[in-house]
């Protein structure tokens, strides 16, 4: 119950923040969607960082390290530190400047204007929305799973006194709710053998469906009332929360797991137990193939996705001035390090016998099958319910700080790129625009929540494919800003090649069923990430078609190039 109380207080605080920020709302659609371009350096840093760091930052990083070892930091985090800031620097500032000049609110408005093509918006819209939806679903489903795991009962194995008899499970921490509190369809689920049981269902915790619904409602309330300003404030608050709580969790887990008097001694004790194959990236015997060097290199292309995230584009446009970008550009890699290093170490410790051998066999199997639950399980086992509650708040903060921007962005895109764009200009005043944007946001939240009820588990494996899809469109935004010869036909070719290669490789991976899918260099065994092929295809298509088609007119180029 302690965890649930802390989670409740945290969500209440967020609601208060949303209501407070709504009091500063100026009542215009520009204020609602872009906070009237008033966001300074600190809020911009925190909102951009909070938006790019999803649940994956805390839960996924620990899980990946548990599965693959500490090498995941180089694979996913240090590369992002370089590439994300590069995107903010070379794309963000320029797009912000053009947005100020020509009054854009969405990415599609920019591309329509830059290429003088209405249809490019129609081509891009379903692709961008289609790539954001699985991302939203991951957040909604992960929030429900985290709250459920952290509020459910904890059992420990007690060795039997009879020699040879399996240990029995004894409930150490009771769940927040007794059996029978909720309707049966929320409490009981089928286990692997097909038996419908309480322990396979909510197991004493808040049922996932209810937990996800609460998170959706809280995010909806502060996005609905506060718009972009509410989102930026909430992101800032939540980013501070998950960074501080992450460090506290690291300290407590290190002390408990290491079991020594000082932090340094405990750290040493915990790290010495990490198996060798989790410390390196090379192969160690059978079953530990490691990661190939070329695959590691081509992973560098994945973070280019931030250049095409529609929600990040919207955040860039909120900046008060170009100087507001300086702090996010500098501090982003450092912030990634502060969040990721402790999580990666915790994940590697979890793979050591020091932790793993003390778990009941069913839980060990559960962890190996779903590494994303490593962090909640560790906290449940090693920390007090109080810390468990705070950590849950931290994880939810990371999830919600991405969800809010995505909900707001999709609502804005529907309003600006479809509804307003195809309506008679003078039939929609500002008040009506605001009403439509809010209605679309409600609709997006409703649709996302409903889809999440079907538990499309496959969305978790879609994560890297979504990122790759956005990355494959990076050449489009980069060329549009830096290459005058980019033509309308070249832009279409780029989008189609990106989408076509993505679809082809996605099908080759058996629709993400082959989790470790890679593309081998022709005639060799060298593995590359699919994203490298996609970017190659979209770049070649953009360059070749642009060179073969009529260059854009001078008047248009003058508007976009100094």
């Amino acid at each position: 119950m302690t965890q649930l109380t802390i989670i409740g207080c945290y969500l209440g605080l967020l609601l208060l923040l949303g209501i407070f920020s709504s009091r500063l709302f100026k009542g215009t659609s520009k204020d609602y969607m872009l906070a009237s371009n008033s966001i300074g350096p600190f809020l911009l840093l925190m909102s951009i960082f909070g938006t790019t760091m999803t649940a994956f930052a805390l839960v996924g990083s620990t899980g990946e390290s548990f599965k693959e070892g500490v090498g995941v930091y180089g694979l996913l985090a240090s590369s992002s530190g370089i590439i994300h800031s590069l995107c903010f620097f070379v794309l963000g500032i320029k797009l912000w400047s053009l947005g100020q000049k020509y009054g854009y609110t969405t990415q599609i408005q920019y591309f329509r204007d830059r290429f003088g093509s209405d249809k490019i918006g129609l081509l891009l819209f379903p692709i961008l929305v289609g790539l954001v939806i699985p991302y939203l679903l991951i957040g909604v489903m992960a929030s429900g799973a985290v709250i459920n795991t952290m509020t459910s009962r904890v059992a420990v194995p007690v060795p039997s006194e009879v020699a040879g008899e399996a240990p029995t499970l004894v409930v150490k921490v009771p769940g927040a709710f007794k059996e029978g509190t909720f309707p049966e369809f929320l409490e009981k689920k089928a286990d692997k053998k097909g038996n419908v049981t309480f322990s396979a269902g909510s197991n004493g915790g808040l049922p996932k469906e209810l937990a996800s619904l609460i998170i959706c409602v809280v995010v909806l309330v502060y996005v609905f009332y506060g718009g972009m300003r509410g989102t930026a404030w909430a992101n800032t608050f939540q980013t501070i929360v998950f960074m501080i709580l992450g460090m506290i969790t690291f300290y407590i887990i290190a002390m408990k797991l290491g079991g020594q008097d000082t932090l340094l001694a405990s750290l040493k004790s915990a790290s010495e137990a990490i198996p060798k194959h989790k410390l390196i990236r090379g192969a160690v015997g059978e079953g530990h193939e490691g990661i190939s060097k070329l695959k590691f290199f081509t992973y560098l292309f994945v973070p280019l996705s931030v250049g095409m995230f529609p929600h990040l584009f919207q955040h860039w446009l909120t900046a008060k001035n170009a100087n507001s970008f300086k702090l996010p550009v500098i501090a982003h890699p450092i912030f990634i390090m502060i969040v990721w290093v402790p999580c990666v170490l915790i994940g590697a410790w979890a793979a050591s016998p020091l932790f793993l051998d003390n778990l009941p066999p069913p839980l060990q199997a559960k962890l190996l099958a779903n590494p994303n639950i490593v962090l909640p399980v560790m906290v449940n086992k090693l920390a007090t319910p109080l810390l468990g509650g705070f950590l849950t708040a931290g994880i939810l903060a990371a999830i919600m700080s991405s969800l809010d921007s995505q909900f707001l962005c999709i609502g804005t895109m529907f309003t600006e790129d479809i509804f307003k764009h195809y309506s008679k200009k003078d039939s929609i005043d500002d008040r009506k625009t605001l009403l439509i944007a809010r209605s679309f946001i409600i609709l997006v939240v409703l649709v996302t929540y409903t889809l999440s009820l079907f538990e499309p588990r496959a969305v978790f494996t879609l994560g890297v494919w979504c990122f790759s899809g956005f990355s494959s469109l990076f050449p489009l935004v980069f060329a549009s800003l830096y290459w005058k010869k980019t033509t309308k036909a070249g832009a279409y070719a780029c989008v189609l090649a990106a989408f076509g290669s993505w679809l082809y490789l996605f099908a080759q991976s058996d629709y993400a069923a082959i989790r470790e899918f890679t593309v081998k260099l022709p005639g060799t065994d060298y593995e590359t990430m699919p994203v490298a092929t996609m970017i190659l295809c979209s770049t070649v298509a953009l360059v070749v078609v642009s060179l073969l088609t009529k260059p854009p007119e001078e008047a248009r180029l003058k508007r976009f190039f100094d």
Binding site: V70, Y73, S78, Q100, K101, S271, E272, N321, A322, L345
Partner: protein, 73 residues
Amino acid sequence: MKMVVWGLVVLLLILHQDNWLWDDDRLVFGFMPITLLYHAGISVAAGVTWFLATKFAWPTHLEDSSSSEGGTH
């Protein structure tokens, strides 16, 4: 100086590919895996490089961007 900054960014990307630490399982200070420490260093170096970029390669001509001129979108 602008070229030096962009050179540093390229150097960071090269240093990121640390093939020489691929099979190194040493624990620095007794607890920090060397691979993790090295890449945490890359993150700090990235912060420093981007700081230099804001000092010496900043697009100052974009700082006084004028307000909306209206577009065709």
